[in-house]
């Protein structure tokens, strides 16, 4: 595994995302780990754990309807790759949306899922 390029803006962002993701999802990780030993495999949703959160898949499920080419191109929604918006701005926009342009997902996606989507966006090339 190559070292994280923390001496660049992009690298700092990725580091921020990882740290923030762990901070937010750590309690859930513990809970999920405890549950996994007792709950078995009742349903696909019960099987899922935060480490399974695939931001890219979530993007292709829901976000890609407006943010085209997986977020690499402008369409109904703006291009997201190489966005100069701050992580805080993007997280807030995902949570609250924008009237007449984007739905708010704050009560729909967990913090961990939103962080996974952010990580996916930050990892996009052009």
């Amino acid at each position: 595994m190559p070292p994280l390029p923390v001496n660049t803006d992009a690298g700092m962002r990725i580091l921020f995302v990882i740290v923030a993701s762990l901070a937010i999802t750590w309690p859930w990780l513990l809970t999920a780990a405890e549950q996994s030993t007792t709950a078995g495999s009742a349903t696909p949703q019960a099987e899922a754990s935060p480490s399974d959160i695939d931001g890219g898949q979530m993007f292709a499920t829901t976000c890609g309807f407006c943010h085209q080419d997986g977020g690499r191109a402008a369409g109904r929604g703006p291009k997201l790759s190489k966005s100069e918006r701050s992580d805080e701005f993007i997280i807030e926009r995902i949570r609250k949306g924008k009237t007449g342009a984007m739905p708010g997902f704050g009560e729909v996606f967990s913090d961990g899922q939103i962080m996974a989507i952010l990580a996916y966006i930050r990892g996009l090339d052009d």
Binding site: P44, Q45, G56, Q57, F59, A60, T61, T62, G64, F65, C66, Q68, D69, G70, R72, A73, A74, G75, R76, G77, K96, G97, T99, G100, P103, G104, F105, E107, V108
Partner: protein
């Protein structure tokens, strides 16, 4: 014999009683609704049940249209996502809806407000919805006006006062996310409305509600609504199937059938490849998605259907497209346009295929469709990963929901076609149901120009049965508003840049135009008030397809105002 005599005598008495108790207005309404042409009124979304979007008025005609000018305007409040509604007119009063299901009743001659109604919507829910808060139309009947809401309600208002008659919750929109954006359809004593859907993992119901009492009478699931249909969804995928019937259909009184078009299944793009009957996200035909269905309006029972695209893997719903009911010789036909760019012609008695013809040039999701059977030939069923070449048409369709028009005078069908494709990468996804349903797309995509030129649109004047083209007008960007034909030998097209065009219905020659200042994605109608003919069209930009135009075309869409709009009404000076 005695029984028959008594029976016939009884029938005569009932008929006489019906004649005596039916007001002249009601009788006239039924005849007007079943006519080919809308005359003084525009009483239902598609003009009349025959769905021609054709006005029999000819005060405004090819000879004097150059004198058409603005008579009055109306500015609705909170036009988030512009205006997408088709107005209605009855007895000289114009009714229309705006975003958030605001409803206005205006004097048709002066524009003076008679009443307005603002429903209190669940704004927290609206903020979580993708397709909101626009509204595409209303219905009239039983002395009421009916409008759906994005938070899952059907509201009836007294036509004279605007006061609520009933407010019925039909969908748990907090759970299924979708609500109602399309116009209802009133048939006899029933008001019928279809839910949004397609992309959302639901079952897309269509509802029948008692138009007087507001009591729900029936609910038809466009996904697995029968045992036969349930068997066409492998792995219990019907539970998250999509469907919906988000635009109003039409009514054929001869067979007592409501024709309705249904939306695509979810996810939009499947990864099954050619093995779609057995594998992928939703193995099987996925009935009754991307179908035209005929329902008994009294019971909601399915009478017959045709699935235009079995196992639709391209998001080409049948929810778009008006049901143009025409007769050719002894054949009673209905013409219905599918989002794929193909136009289907059916026998009106049983939905058997009479012909299928393409309106647009850039189609590669199939090689063709058999015009005798409707079978898809050379399907392009994708697998996970990047498609080797763009898919045509793009997700916005070769045809969108904006209606075309048919003139019984010229016997031509005037319809907007869209030429564009898209790069596509199919990705495996899982439906999200908790805490509320979310879009299920199954792909990344990007709209691109088609192989034969720039992304563009065109108005075609064609024979509706054979598809033979008489003339065509091209546009840099597809017009996203409905088309109006009139007995004045005119065809009106409100375009995307904001210009309303009037063409000679025989030749396509432009005779008049007027810039309304913002793009159109609504319906245009004509009506009579105080003995004068008017043309009414809402202007106001901002639909989901419209939102593609900045990336595709740049200006004027980049600078075009959004979340605003006005109703513009024209008359001869």
């Amino acid at each position: 014999m005695a029984f028959h005599a008594r029976y016939l005598g009884g029938c005569a008495a009932v008929a006489l009683a019906a004649i005596l108790t039916t007001s002249p207005t009601q009788a006239q309404d039924a005849a007007a609704l079943n006519a080919e042409a809308a005359q003084n009124d525009w009483a239902t979304h598609h003009g009349t049940y025959k769905s021609y979007h054709y006005s029999g008025l000819d005060q405004i005609n090819a000879g004097n249209v150059k004198n058409l000018e603005v008579a009055w305007m109306h500015f609705p409040e909170r036009s988030t996502r512009g205006l997408q509604s088709t107005p209605l007119a009855l007895d000289g009063v114009l009714y229309y809806s705006g975003s958030y299901s605001h409803v206005y009743a205006l004097d048709g001659a002066t524009g003076k407000t008679i009443w307005s109604y603002t429903p209190e919507l669940d704004e927290e829910l609206v903020a979580k919805q993708t397709h909101s808060p626009y509204n595409r139309g209303i219905a009239l009947g039983q002395g009421n006006l009916y409008v759906g809401t994005v938070d899952g309600r059907l509201i009836a208002l007294n036509l004279k006062t605007g006061k609520p008659v009933f407010d019925l919750k039909l969908l748990d929109s907090k759970k299924v996310t979708v609500g109602f954006t399309g116009a209802p359809l009133v048939v006899k004593d029933m008001v019928i409305i279809g839910a949004q859907g397609g992309e959302w993992p639901g079952r897309g119901p269509i509802f029948g509600v008692d138009a007087k009492t507001g009591q729900k009478k029936w609910e038809f699931f466009t996904v697995a609504g029968t045992e036969e249909a349930m068997a066409t969804w492998g792995n219990d995928s019907w539970r998250t199937g999509g469907g919906g019937g988000w635009m109003p259909g039409a009514y054929d009184p001869e067979t007592n059938s409501v024709w309705w078009g249904t939306a695509n299944p979810a996810p939009l793009y499947d990864w099954s490849g050619p093995d779609w009957k057995k594998s992928g996200a939703r193995p099987g035909d996925n009935l009754y998605t991307t179908s035209v269905i005929a329902l008994d309006p009294d019971t909601g029972k399915l009478k017959f259907y045709h699935q235009e695209l079995p196992h639709d893997a391209w998001d080409f719903d049948s929810a778009v497209g008006e049901f143009v009911m025409i007769n050719r010789g002894d054949k009673k036909l209905v013409v219905h346009a599918n989002k794929s760019g193909f136009v289907f012609v059916y026998d009106r008695s049983n939905a058997k295929i009479e012909n299928v013809w393409p309106l647009v040039k850039n189609i590669n999701f199939v090689k063709s469709i058999d015009p005798k059977t409707g079978e898809l030939i050379g399907r392009r069923d994708l697998v996970a990963g990047k498609a080797d070449s763009p898919l045509c048409p793009a997700i916005a369709g070769g045809i969108s929901w904006n209606s075309g028009a048919y003139s019984p005078k010229t016997q031509l069908y005037y319809k907007i076609g869209q030429e564009w494709c898209m790069d596509l990468t199919v990705e495996k996804t899982n439906p999200i149901l908790e805490p509320m349903a979310q879009l299920n797309i199954g792909a990344q995509f990007k709209l691109v120009a088609p192989p034969d030129g720039p992304a563009r649109g065109h108005l075609d004047a064609r024979d509706p049965v054979t598809g033979v083209k008489k003339w065509e007008v091209n546009y840099k960007a597809p017009p996203l508003a409905s088309v109006l034909a009139t007995a004045g030998n005119l065809v009106f097209v409100p375009d995307a840049e904001g210009v309303v065009h009037a063409y000679n219905a025989e030749s396509g020659q432009e005779l008049w135009s007027r810039n309304n200042g913002t793009g159109h994605n609504a319906g245009i109608i004509s009506y009579m008030a105080g003995g004068k003919q008017y043309i009414a069209v809402p202007a106001g930009w901002g639909s989901l397809v419209a939102d593609e135009f900045v990336a595709l075309y740049g200006e004027p869409y980049k600078s075009m105002t959004k979340n605003t709009g006005a109703l513009i009404v024209f008359a001869l000076r």
